[in-house]
Symmetry: C2
Subunit: 400 residues, 2 copies
């Protein structure tokens, strides 16, 4: 017995049948751990990988999906010879898994703008979405929001920051939401001078201080482009103008984001940095089930620091606000330029500070489209990538 | 338009008619500021004071209540000669205001165990309760919970910590609540050695590092008795066993409390130390309205620290856990002993470390009663106070 009437009602059962896009990556494998922990709640109907067919083969044996897809066509054919399930190939194969009849929920853990079309397909086929792919909302937010509005499906963010905001808004009224504050670890170069940043290598950039993630997102975190993406995603997820989305640097990555209400009360979500909680919450919401995440002990956390972001040294964050406010195809162009620049940096072709420079140049060159269709966005993505690749080769590529 | 379906529904109107017990104290005057900010939402039907009739007279002119009460009978008679409203006197007068027909909500901002009966009266007369009086739940939690269960009224905490927990639980399921963590500033003596603590004066004890409050609660905060009270209150408010109620020292008083769920996700409520938010939320829940509270800026807050509590130097917190777990009349005895000891300390009659010593002795001497009635609790309160007073006079009183 208790005095206060709090909390939510209805005990909805979870039981979801998943198509998991990008099952061999960081988010993908963590999702599978959750599925295996709760076999009576989840079943997997489809899996996809870019090229890691050995890992995928193991996942097929564990999870017995109906079908899988491999982006790399040669690898797909290799897998097809030994697999006991249907193997689809290429982009069309990934999209087939996104539309798979047996699945009710698509977990999109793809990296890059190749994630956009599968999300759209899944929405149009009435699948619920758990989204880790950032580029879907960054490049195609307006199109996806419109499609979801028509289809009335459930849409859940997997990012720790957006999951935090979503949890903080539980039971609250959106009209009483004053602002949101996304936390940012600051990445490994938070304290470097501009001159030191110029000498950063890929090895440096892959050492994230708090989160263990894939290579692309780790580089994006180091440049704060990732935080910029999250600002744009938050705009679409929560329908809140950019003026009311703030970023604060929080090196410990324990407060995952904060929400401020009209009475100046602030609600935050916290935990040790561990993607298990946001992934699982995206799959079990509105329920919570035990996770493997280590319980947070505030006295052990000891000290939480917060600093204003420095967009002079980390211009990508400012570019993202600019792209978001400009709207149209500017965010898609920004994202495409970033993908090319980051890949070139990972390959050692360009310097670290060339990344924001390439993004800026491609954003400046982006045409204006106020209400782009999905096809226009995909065309801009492709066109910008080609132009950015030329820029890399002609103006930035380092001497061998 | 937004992607995520979040938040609560129904736009209930607020409009409450209040009886405000303890209107001239710290919580009382802040409540009146809120009432005056929202004249179309609140009306005041009754006010009470211990003896500050000048302040009360001013409040009568501002708020035009139906009736008021003054605890001090001579002061009541003095006010009666000039007041334009009904003036009741003594404890019976306070209780009349708690039962006032015109009011639908009683804000109990009384200090000490004199707050117990008015809360009970208000509940039994079907009033909704906004409770700042700690002693009501500390001493008489079981009786109040039972009465509220019968009457089905709304019960809201005014304390910043309990308000924080309540806000963090919004929209959540109680069966998924794993633990709550109440934050504690640590008070002004957090870093003193036991020897330094022995020399603490009332002037030292009234210097709270973060919160501006009345004298009794400021001393209770310095000994951590106040935190112990909050642990017991949380037990009754949220129906959670003592084993799952934690305390963490947080010197900045910005995180007001935290809640942990079954998935290890933690939700916290934050703000600059300012009672405006919890008082107003207790009156407007489930709505939030703008307050005068300064918006929290995390980069300005800069650093939040958390430390494990030290119950060797601050034994009152351990006593409260012990009293809570023992149940029956032990918490009432502890509270009564504390009231007498703190008053004696404020008057300079005893030393600072005599406070926990007196509490411990009176707790040790407390008889066992597993299901005390309200009358038993009130008898124990009175009896313990008399015994504690004798103890002060005979064993502890300092040389003049």
């Amino acid at each position: 017995m208790r005095l206060l009437q709090v909390g939510a009602g209805c005990g909805r059962t979870i039981m979801k049948i998943l198509s998991l896009l990008g099952s061999t990556g960081s988010i993908g494998t963590q999702t599978i751990e959750i599925v295996r922990r709760y076999p009576s709640e989840f079943r997997v109907a489809g899996l996809t990988t870019n090229a890691k067919i050995d890992v995928l083969q193991h996942q097929i044996e564990l999870l017995k999906p109906e079908a899988v897809a491999v982006m790399d066509e040669a690898k797909a054919e290799e897998l097809e010879r030994k697999a006991t399930v249907a193997v689809y190939k290429g982009m069309e194969g990934i999209r087939k898994i996104a539309r798979l009849e047996q699945a009710d929920t698509v977990v999109n853990a793809l990296v890059g703008s190749i994630g956009i079309e599968p999300t759209y397909d899944a929405v149009m086929h009435g699948k619920n979405i758990a989204l880790a792919n950032k580029e879907t909302l960054v490049a195609a937010g307006s199109v996806i929001v419109e499609a979801i509005g028509k289809k009335g499906i459930s849409f859940m963010p997997i990012d720790s920051e957006h999951s935090a905001i979503f949890q903080c808004l539980k039971g609250e009224r959106m009209k009483e939401l004053k602002s949101i504050t996304i936390t940012c670890s600051g990445g490994p170069f938070r304290e470097l001078s501009p001159r030191e940043m110029a000498g950063v290598t890929i090895t440096d950039a892959l050492k994230h201080p708090t989160w263990k993630m894939g290579a692309k997102i780790t580089v994006d975190s180091s440049t704060w482009m990732n935080k910029g993406f999250e600002v744009i995603e938050a705009h679409w997820l929560f329908g809140i103008p950019y003026e009311r989305i703030n970023v604060v640097v929080h090196p410990q990555s324990i407060v995952h984001s904060l929400v401020e209400f009209s009475d100046s009360s602030v609600i935050a979500q916290l935990g040790w940095p561990d993607m298990t909680i946001p992934i699982q919450y995206a799959l079990t919401h509105p329920q919570r089930l035990p996770t493997s995440a280590r319980p947070l002990d505030m006295a052990e956390a000891q000290k939480l620091e917060f600093l204003a972001p420095d967009t002079e040294r980390f211009p990508c964050l400012a570019y993202a606000y600019g792209a978001g406010k400009a709207g149209g195809i500017v965010p898609a162009a920004m994202n495409a330029a970033n993908e090319v620049a980051v890949q070139a940096f990972i390959k050692g072709e360009i310097g670290y500070l060339d990344i924001p420079e390439i993004i800026r140049r491609m954003m400046d060159a982006a045409p204006t489209h106020s209400h782009p269709s999905l096809q226009t966005i995909l065309d801009i993505d492709k066109g910008t990538k080609e132009k950015a690749q030329l820029l890399v080769e002609n103006d930035f590529r380092r001497q061998a």
